[in-house]
Symmetry: D2
Subunit: 442 residues, 4 copies
C-alpha cells in the first residue's frame, strides 16, 4: 500500500491559497498529495470556506483525487502530516497597517518585515509559530515545516533556537523574483539563470549571477545602474541606485536593501503614499476584498489572474517546488532559509541564513559561501543581531529586550525614538502580544 501524503496549511484561508493549490495540481505527478488540510482560526472561518470551496473546484477541474479538508482544529490537521506550511498573519492586515503607520509618525520606516514593523510582526508571530512547533513535536515529529509567514528569517531563527523542530525551512519569493527579473531582463528562459544567494531573509545578496553557468554579473550590475530599471519587484519602483555605489558594491542587492542604502528616500516615498493611496496593507486590504469576491464565484475553478497583483508572486509556487524537491531527493539548487552550519563565515553556526542550497530528502544543504564581501558583511551581521534580540523579546515578552532590538536596528535613529515607538506599538497590538502583559513591565 502506498503511503498517503498529507499536507497541512496553517492560515489556509489566505488569499494566496489558490496559488498553492495550483502548485500542487501542477506538480501532482512528482508529488502525489492525498490530503490538503486548510486550517484557520475561528475569526477566519468565512474566508476559509470561500477559498476552500474554490480549492475543491480547482482540484475537481484538474481531475485529481486530492482531498481538501477545511478546519479550525489545528491539531487534527497536524496529526501525521508530512509537510506543514504556514502562511498565517496574526492580527490580519489591520495589524500590518498599524506596523506601517505608527513608525511613520516618528519619521521612521513602517514596513511589514523591516524595522519597527518587522519587529512587531515578529513579536506577534513567533509565539504562535512556537506553539505550532510544540504541536508538531507531538503530532507529526517527522514532518517538514515550510514557513512563509513573515518575518521569515526571524521566524526560522526562533524555530531553530527555541524548539526541537530541526526540519524547518523558511521561504521567500524575493530570490526567485530576482532570478525571474534577470531572466526577463536578459530575455532568457528562467531555467538558465542561477544566482549565488547569500545573506538573510530580505537581506540577501546575489554574489554572482549566471546564464548557463557563465557569469553575467557585470552586465546585470550595469543594468542596475540605469535608474529606470533599478528594481526587480513591483512594489519598490522609481528610485534608482547611485551607479557608482552599486558598481563598488559589486554584488546584487535585493529590493529590500533600498530601505538600508536609501533610507531617507524610502521613508519619504512611504510617507507620500501613506497620504495618497494608503500604506501597502491598506491597498492590499482592498485587493483582498476584491479577490474574495472573485473567489466566491461558483464558476471559478482556476486561480484567477488578478491574484498576481496581490504581490507575493511565486511564493506558493516556490513552496510546492521545495516540497517536491524534498520529497523526491532532487538535488536541485534553491535559495532558502536554513541553519548556517558554517556556510557563511562569521555568521553563527546555528543561525538561520538565506542561502543557495541543494535540496535533498534530508532537506536543504547550503552550498558553501565562505567570507561575505567586506562591504556587505557588517550590515548582514547587524540584522542578524537584531533578529536574535527580537526573537528573544518575542519569547520572553521582556520590554527592555524589545526596546534593545529596535534601538540596534539600523533604521532606528535613536533609543529615545525607539522607546516612543515601542510604547505606542505595544499598546496598539496589545491584544496580540499577551507575553508582554503577563505582569507589570520590568
Amino acid at each position: 500500500m502506498v503511503k498517503r501524503l498529507k499536507v497541512a496549511t496553517i492560515g489556509g484561508g489566505s488569499s494566496y491559497t489558490p496559488e498553492l493549490v495550483e502548485g500542487f495540481i501542477k506538480r501532482y505527478d512528482e508529488f502525489p498529495i492525498s490530503e490538503l488540510w486548510l486550517v484557520d482560526i475561528e475569526a477566519g472561518k468565512e474566508k476559509l470556506e470561500i477559498v476552500g470551496e474554490l480549492a475543491k473546484r480547482m482540484v475537481q477541474k484538474a481531475g485529481l483525487s486530492i482531498e481538501i479538508h477545511l478546519t479550525i482544529d489545528r491539531r487534527a490537521a497536524l496529526k501525521h502530516a508530512d509537510f506543514v506550511t504556514t502562511q498565517f498573519r496574526v492580527g490580519l492586515l489591520e495589524a500590518r497597517a498599524k506596523d506601517e503607520r505608527i513608525p511613520l509618525k516618528y519619521g521612521v520606516l513602517g514596513q511589514e518585515t523591516n524595522g519597527a514593523g518587522g519587529l512587531f510582526k515578529g513579536l506577534r508571530t513567533i509565539p504562535v509559530i512556537l506553539e505550532i512547533c510544540r504541536d508538531m513535536e507531538e503530532l507529526c515529529p517527522q514532518a517538514w515545516l515550510i514557513n512563509f509567514t513573515n518575518p521569515a528569517g526571524m521566524v526560522t531563527e526562533a524555530v531553530l533556537r527555541y524548539t526541537n523542530i530541526k526540519k524547518v525551512v523558511g521561504l521567500c519569493n524575493v530570490p526567485i523574483g530576482m532570478e525571474m527579473g534577470i531572466a526577463k531582463l536578459l530575455d532568457v528562459d528562467p531555467s538558465r539563470v542561477r544566482i549565488d544567494f547569500a545573506g538573510l531573509n530580505h537581506m540577501v545578496y546575489g554574489l554572482d549571477v549566471y546564464v548557463d553557468g557563465e557569469s553575467v554579473k557585470d552586465q546585470v550590475i550595469e543594468f542596475l545602474t540605469d535608474p529606470n530599471n533599478s528594481s526587480f519587484v513591483k512594489n519598490i519602483q522609481g528610485i534608482g541606485w547611485e551607479p557608482e555605489f552599486i558598481k563598488a558594491l559589486n554584488v546584487l542587492p535585493c529590493p529590500y536593501h533600498m530601505y538600508y542604502y536609501k533610507t531617507k528616500e524610502m521613508v519619504g516615498k512611504e510617507m507620500e503614499s501613506s497620504k495618497k493611496e494608503g500604506t501597502r496593507a491598506e491597498v492590499v486590504q482592498k485587493l483582498e476584498k476584491e479577490l474574495f469576491e472573485l473567489y466566491k464565484d461558483e464558476n471559478l475553478d482556476i486561480k484567477p489572474p488578478q491574484l498576481e497583483k496581490r504581490g507575493g508572486a511565486y511564493y506558493s509556487d516556490a513552496a510546492v517546488r521545495l516540497i517536491t524537491s524534498i520529497y523526491n531527493d532532487k538535488g536541485d539548487i534553491q535559495p532558502v532559509n536554513t541553519m548556517n552550519r558554517g556556510a557563511i563565515a562569521s555568521i553563527p553556526y546555528e543561525s538561520a541564513v538565506e542561502v543557495s542550497c541543494i535540496i535533498t530528502k534530508e532537506g536543504p544543504k547550503p552550498i558553501v559561501v565562505g567570507d561575505l564581501p567586506v562591504p556587505v558583511r557588517g550590515l548582514v551581521q547587524q540584522i542578524k543581531s537584531f533578529e536574535r534580540v527580537a526573537a528573544e523579546a518575542a519569547v520572553t515578552g521582556n520590554y527592555n529586550t524589545a526596546l534593545l532590538a529596535l534601538t540596534i536596528n539600523p533604521l532606528t535613529p535613536s533609543d529615545q525614538i525607539a522607546k516612543e515607538i515601542v510604547d505606542e506599538m505595544l499598546e496598539a497590538h496589545h491584544e496580540y502580544l499577551p507575553q508582554f502583559f503577563k505582569e507589570a513591565k520590568v
Copy 2:
C-alpha cells in the same frame, strides 16, 4: 655602554606635546629616554619652535639630560629610533572644521572620527602614515610605531594590511577616560578600576568593570541610566541614555556610541553648537591659539593646566605609559588597538581591534574576549566593514570605493546623500587627497 633610547614624534609641533614631554619626565626612571625628536612639516615650523623650546625648558627644569631635537627632516628623526609616535593632523584644524561643517549641510553628523568626517580624515591621513611606515621599514625596522593620529582604528587597520610594520599600536584616551570616570564616580583610586574592553576604536564597549577584581557593572549601569550622569567625557553632555535600553544592552558603551544609538539627538546638538559656539574644531582653534600664546612665555617650564581643556586628556600619558610597559616587559593590562588574532570572535583574524591587552616587550597581546554579546556584535562588524573599505579607498584613491565606504556607514541615510557629501568633500580637501586626483574619476 648603555643603549641610547631614541623617540621620534611625528607632528611634534602639536599643542599636545607638553603633555607628552611631561609624561617622559615623570616616567624617566623607568624609561630613560636619551633623545626626543620632534618632527613637523615646513608649514608647522613656527609652532614646532614654540612647543620645542617649551619642551627644552621642561626638561631642564626636571634636571634631566634628555636631548630635544626639532626638525622638519623626518628621515633624520626616524633613523635608528626605538619608538615612533604620531600625532600629526593632515590639513590641520581647518580641514577638521570642514569635516565637521560639510556633512551637517546634508543633515548628517560631521565629526572628527565618525561618519563622513572620519572617512575623510582617514583618506587624508592613511597615505601619510603609509609613507612613514615605508621610511621606518628602511630606517628603524625594529622600532615600535605608537599611533595616536585619528582615526586611530582605521589607521591601525591600514598599517596592518598595507605595510610590513607589525610593531604598531593604535592608542586612544577613551578607555582610560572611562576608567578614570568610573573611579571618580565610585570615589576609588583609578588603579583599583579595571574594565574588560572590546570592540574597535571609538566603538569600544566595557564588557565588565571591576573594583579590586569584583564586578561593579550593575552599579555602574544603574548610574549610566541617570540622565544627569550619562557620559564619561567632557565633550558629549546633557544627553542621557534611555535607562531601559542601557539595562538591556548590559555593557558599558563608550561616549562615541551616542552617535550611533542617539544619532538624531547628536546631529541636532551639533547643528545647534555649529551655529552658536562653532564646531569643535573651531572652538579648539581658539583654544590652541591661546595655548601657543602661553607656550611662548619663556618663564613657562611646565605643562600649563589650561592644556586640559583642549580635550584629549590622558592621551600622551597613555602613550608614555604604553612605551614604558613595552620597554620594561611589564605585563600590565592596557586597552590598545592591535591585531585581533582571534581575541574577538567573528572579527577577522588580521584586523585591528581595541581590546584589553597585556603589554610585553613583544608588544600587546590581547586577553581573549570570545563572542561579543549578540546586541553589540552587528554594529561593531559594520564599523569594521566601513573601516576596511575606507582604508582601501585611502590607498587606491578610487572614487567608487570612497562612495561605498560612506554609503555603508550606519550614520549615512542614503547612497545619494553619500554621493553629494563625497563630491563636496573631495573638492574641499582636494589639496590633501592627491591620490584621488591622479587622473580623471573612474
Copy 3:
C-alpha cells in the same frame, strides 16, 4: 564558428590512458572534444607511442573526429588548452617500489600515498606540478587543471598555496569506489546511492549514505562490521574492522583508514606480501608490461578488460565525468579535492579538502559539512598538518622540514626512525629530488 575543445594529458603514456579515451568517447555527446594531446617525457616516448596508437584506433572505431596528438613538447600541448589532466608518475614504478620497500625495513608502512612513501611521492611530484602550473599561467590561464597524480590531496594543497592557478581540482577514485561498493552490496543501481563525503584525499569519511535520499548508514555500518565484507576496494582485503569500534565511529571509513586504525596489521600484511608476491608496485610493474603487450596489438581498438585489474578503476571515468559537468554547468554532486572555504569547520579556509561538491561551470562548490564528528576530527587535522609541512618541504627542499613532516605523520614511530628513513630515501630518490641537493644540507 564553434570553439574547439582541447584537452592536454600530462603523463599521456600511462597505461590508464585507454580508459580516459574511452571516457571521452562515451561522453562525446556532452563534451565534444576536438583535440586530445597526450604528453610524456623523453624516457616515456615508447609507451606514449603504443598507447597513443591504441587511442587513435579507439577513436576511429567510435567514428569520431577527435584528433589525438602525441608529443613530448609539454608547452605545445598546454597552449590554449581548455582542460589539463595530470596522471604522470615521477620516477615511474621503480620509484614507487622504493617508497614501498624502504620504510618496511624500519618496520614502518611503505605505501604509495600514505606515510613515508606518500611523503616522498609528494616531494618528487610537487615541483613538477608547480612547473606545469607556471606554464599554464602563461599558456592557458583559463584552463582547468584536473589532477589525478598522487598524492592528490597534497598536490592540490600545493597548487592552492604556491601557484596562481585557482581552477584546480584533485581527483580520486576512492569515493566513487565506495559508492559503487555500496550499490553492489545493497544491490541497487549506483545512481541511486549518494554519500556525504568529508575529509581529505585518502582520508575521507562517508558521514552519511543514502539510497534515493533515505539514509542507509546503519545498515551499511552493520555490514562493515562483518569481517568478511569490511573493505570496498580490491587491494585491502581479509582484515576486518572491530565491530564495536566501527559502530562507535558511526561514519564510513575509507579503505585507506585501515592504515591508521589497523596500523599494526597492515604493516604485517605488507611485509608478508613484500616477501611473497612483491609490493604493489612490483605487482603492477608486471601487469603494466602485460598491458603494453596487449596495447601493441594493432587489432585492439577498445579498452582491454585486463586494464581493470590494474587498480584505479573509475579514475579516468571520474575525470571525464567531472570535465563534462564543468563544461555543461551540470550542478550534479561529485566528491573532489578543492579549497575548503569553510565547508569543513576547523580545517583552514584555504586548504584542500575532499568533499561532496556541486559541479558548475565555475568548478566545484562544496556542500557545507560543518563540524566533523569529534572522533574523526583529530586525525584529519593531523594529516592536514602533515600535508602542509610536506608541501613546504617539497617546495623549499629543506631537509629539516622533510624530517618534520615525516615525524609528525601518525604512522611514524619516532623522530629517530623518521631520520633514518628520510636519509635512506633521499639517497634512493636523489635523481628526482634536485631541490634537496642544490647545496649542502642545512
Copy 4:
C-alpha cells in the same frame, strides 16, 4: 568582621599534602586562610591521620592560626568552602600500576596520563569529580575548583561539559617545571623567565620563551638538541631529540611529547624499567611508604626534603600560587587549564586548553594565541578528540565509546589491540568502573 577563608582538599591524605600546607604557610600574608579541610575516604583514614598531624605541627611551628580539619565527610568539608582542591587517586597506586603494566603486555605505552593508562585513569576519576561538582553546586556554588587530579585536561574538559561548575581550573606542574628548567639552564632567576604556553595538558608547547621579555627561543632550542640535556623533568631522561626535528618544529615540546614523537623508544624504555626497578607506580609506592614513615615522626614539623624525589615538584606550590592570585586579583600570568573561548584557533570554543592566562578574581583569562603552528596543530587536535570521546565514555559507561577513545589515540596501533586492552583493563579495574557494569555490555 573579616570573612573566614575556607579551603577543602579532596584526597587530603596524599603524600603531597605537606607541600600544599607549606605553600599556604609561605603565602599566608597574601592569602590568610582560616581553615584547611583535608578530606579522604574511609580506606585512606590512616594516611589522612598521619599527614594531617604533620600538617598541624607545620602550622604550629609557623605560628599561624590555620585550623586543620581531618574528615571523611566530604560534604562537611565542601560546605561554604572558598576553594576546593582535588588531589585524590581513585584506586590508589595499585590501579596506576595496572594502567602501566597491562598495556605493556600488548607492546603499548602504559602511562599514568597518556594512552590506555590515561584513558582508564580518566574513566575512574571523572565520575568522582562529577559527584564532587554536584555537591559543590549545592554546598559551595561560589567556590573555585582547583583540580590537580590527573588526567587534568580530560577532567577539566569533563567538568566544563558535564557540570554547571564554571569556576574550575586544571593545574599541572609541567609548565612551571619547564620555566624552572630553563631558568636553571640559563642560570637566571625563574622570575625572569616567561614561556608562551599553548596546547593541552601534558600536550603543551612553549611557543616562545623569554628572559626579561627578550626571546631566547633559539638558544633554548639549540640546547634541546644536545642529547645530554633533552629533558626538563626528572622522570624522562637519557633519550634525546633528533636535533634537526626540534629545529624544524621550532617550538618547545613538553616532556610528555616524547611519548608521541619517540613512541618506540619510550615504550622500549618503559618495558626495560618495568622489568628492572618496576613501573613508576611501583617505584612511587615504595617512596610513599618511606615518606609516610617520615611523616609519622612527631618531631617532624616541616615538609621533609625527601618529598621532592616523589615527583610532582611545584604542583602544590602552583596551586597555592594560583589561589593567591585569584584571591588578590593579581593579574599575573600563569599557565593553567581553562575554557578556550577562542584563544587557540581551531580548538572548540568550550573545550579545555592549557594556555598562559592572566589570573584575576574572576579566574584565568587566556592570552590570545591565535593559530597554533601548522606542525603541532594536528596532534593537539587529535588528543582533544581523544579527551572528548574518553570523557563521554567516562560519563556514559558505554563500552563502544571507550573502545573508540582508545582506538583513535595516536599511541594505539590498531582497533584490535585496543579491544584487547580495553577488555583486560575493564576487568582489572572492575571495582572502580561501576558505570560500565550497570548492565550487560551494549
